[in-house]
Amino acid sequence: MALDRKTGTAPREFKIIGTRPARPDGIDKVTGRARFGADMSAPGMLVGRVLRSPHAHARIKSIDSSAAEALSGVHAVVTRADFPAPGEDVADILDNCMAGEKALYDGHAVAAVAASSAAVARQALKLIKVEYEPLPHVTDVDAAMAVDAPALHEGRANETVPDGHSPNVMARHAFGHGDIEAGLAQADRVLERSYRTEATHQGYIEPHACLASMGADGQADLWCCTQGHYMVRNTCAAILGITQGQLRVTASEIGGGFGGKTTVFLEPVALMLAKKTGRPVKMVMSRAEVLRATGPTSSSSVDIRLGMTSDGRITAGFAELRYQGGAYPGAPVDMGAMSAFAPYDLENVRTIGWDVVTNRPKAAAYRAPGAPMAAFAVESAIDELARDLGLDPLEVRLKNAAREGTRASYGPTYPAIGLEATLRTARDHPHWSEPLGPNQGRGVACGFWFNFGGDTCVSLNITPDGTVNLSEGNPDIGGSRASMSMMAAEELGIPYDKVRTVIADTGSLGQNEVTDGSRVTFAVGLATIEAARAAKREMCKRAAQVWGIDEEAVIWEDGAARPSGPNAGEHPPMTLADIAAIASNTGGPIAGHYEINAEGAGVSFATHMVDTEVDPDTGAVTILRYTVFQDAGKAVHPSYVEGQFQGGAVQGIGWALNEEYIYDDNGILQNAGFLDYRIPVASDLPMIDAVILEIPNPGHPYGVRGVGETSIVPPLAAIANAVSAATGTRMSDLPMSPPKVLAAIQAR
């Protein structure tokens, strides 16, 4: 039961929150009617295609597009020369969408064509002559940090980087408190170990797609699959040199994102092609383009030093994290360094993060960006020390768990949090005492994510027949329209099916932050509740007017305005529908809206438990059982909360066991397809048990916390701990593919 801060501290009974109604986009999505990025067409539309670098690192000496432009059916060719000089804040984004002086990775866009058909466009790409001067390249993070490594950029390092480092080191981040050496001196045992993870891709099934049109007057329209159409608007307007108000962006249904659709790739190019041709231009990526040239996450190399007493108290934790973020600065190593030890109450803790560029596609966000790799290292180290000391790994975590009042390793002091609850629930769960057979092992790990709020707008309109239209500005990636309708219905006291939520275009609402940071159910939910409260205040006012009493003498209860207090008199309640029907005669249409930069998102914790079986002859790992314990604050639609827990866990399973970007010696991606970049399939997996805990977030009227990202943080370590237990040898290098596991078994 959540507390409603705005109305006092009385426990609140919900009528709709916590139920599992059908989602409003359900029928469209099971019948094929839902329109995703590539499903839109426009009259007179041209097809756009991108020419990409075959080199990992090369100077672009010249581009001759004359033969392509002469081909019948070709309407325009665009290169970097067509774009205005970018402002500093979009310079790297433009360079990533269309290379300037150098191609910085295999697949980097160097030109694009708009043609009357896909076949003509493909033919035209072959006629564009690009003269490259290949340059030495580097794709590995540790190699890129060597002082004599091939440099992607010169003189771009942040002032945080001390002298004497490779020019590929872009920034250094440091967090923590206490004295590491003093803490380690108090330990009965100290572990020092290094860990590595490979780059993985979000693997959304829908490739990037957009449809752009732009008139000679600079007014433009864009339809695209994105996690944030306001971000697309702002970024594209800056790149094209038009105002934000001139560009209207409509978000299509989105076929997965997981952070990968929080930036632009095709969109500015499509707009430039549309501008040059005066025709709508549609662009859709192939799967190979998605893998080669969008935004996978960082690969990482992490060193840990951890001290523990013989009774399981962590005396000091140190992590040095090196993440490569592809060709431009901005690897999520800062968030890795902040989150690494966040689940624990430590006197002595320090983390240092190095942001490194390499000749790979620029990393984009991937579900809790930066945190899974850090948690992999820290949670593996805790597990190893606990086992070495003969201690229960769950009890060790409980002993060191952060709680209300703990000073977090990255600075702030925690309010009420749910980590201990997840650990205790895990300890009491039947999974923890399930017997294990030969070659089987059990692992646990904890995970943390910050959760975000940010700019949010909601507009709630009461229709004349007493139904409600809710407009919000965040693409619905996993059922959030249902959650918003539920919160509006709960607050208004009307049935769920009386509310319809739509995702408005950029012309219809103010600025909205991207659908990321697990922010939507929290921040848009908060704004929805406040918009409903504004509408309720207006409806109470209208009822007071009809009854001829003071506004203060009217309250809203169970979906109706009611007289309240000694002098209100006797009046039958007026329902929302009653008031809506006479709105025109009582002052006009009724609406509520709310705009906020939402704070108080409430941090999130989870504990995962997994059983694995390792085939001693092949090294193949099977996931036998998997249970997620996570704090949701308040689960608005429990099915979609479970879905987030399950989906994050399975992406983590892929990261731990199969998925990796494989580059050859020339820096060319070797597995740019779903056959060779293998994500988990149904037959790889058991059911994923999801246990929802509800420790209310004091920052949300219903206690909601974001749940989307935390679920990918623990799996890497939980599975590594389970495989290490099953094989009797510590697995510190992901993915734990069969050859690697077999080699570890044989080296035992």
């Binding site: 099971v30 094929g32 099934i205 076929g255």
Partner: protein, 159 residues
């Protein structure tokens, strides 16, 4: 490049189209016939988002040429519901929250229907292996498997 004239049946309707010799059935469905319910996730037969049936056999429409549809019966997601009445699989997918983003859903529904036509009482393992060619990145498959098995149960009870 001269086009090929193809006469076929899609979801019971007679359909004629012209296509290039190298054009896939998926491209024909999406770009020539406006049937965008079948999705292209990979174009190489690895993700199953473009699943359709041809003469009752489950295929990736990205791996079949449009010209090969000549004289055959094609069924797509657009033909799965009977007017306003959803197929039990469609109902169960909504009821079990077996979709998050929904991009893989049409292909998975077509594949699951094909499974239940062959095996009305599949085990969890049989269901998982049948659907192993359909990638879903959102759900972890848990609710999808439950929805398919629950639909199978309803369909058995109704028959």
């Amino acid at each position: 490049m001269s086009k090929i004239h193809v006469t076929t049946t899609i979801n019971g309707d007679p359909v004629d189209f012209l296509c290039d010799p190298g054009e896939t059935l998926l491209d024909v469905l999406r770009d020539r016939l406006g049937m965008t319910g079948s999705k292209e996730g990979c174009g190489t037969g690895d993700c199953g988002a473009c699943s359709v049936t041809v003469e009752g056999r489950l295929v990736c429409s990205c791996l079949m040429l449009g010209a090969e549809a000549e004289g055959r019966e094609i069924a797509t997601i657009e033909g799965m519901a009977d007017g306003e009445t959803l197929h039990p699989l469609q109902r169960k997918f909504i009821e079990h929250a077996a979709l998050q983003c929904g991009i893989c859903t049409p292909g998975i529904l077509v594949a699951a229907k094909s499974l239940l036509e062959r095996n009305p009482d599949p085990t969890e393992e049989e269901t998982r292996y049948w659907l192993a060619g359909n990638l879903c990145r959102c759900t972890g498959y848990d609710k999808i498997i439950r929805a398919v098995m629950d639909a199978a149960k309803d369909m058995r009870e109704a028959s």
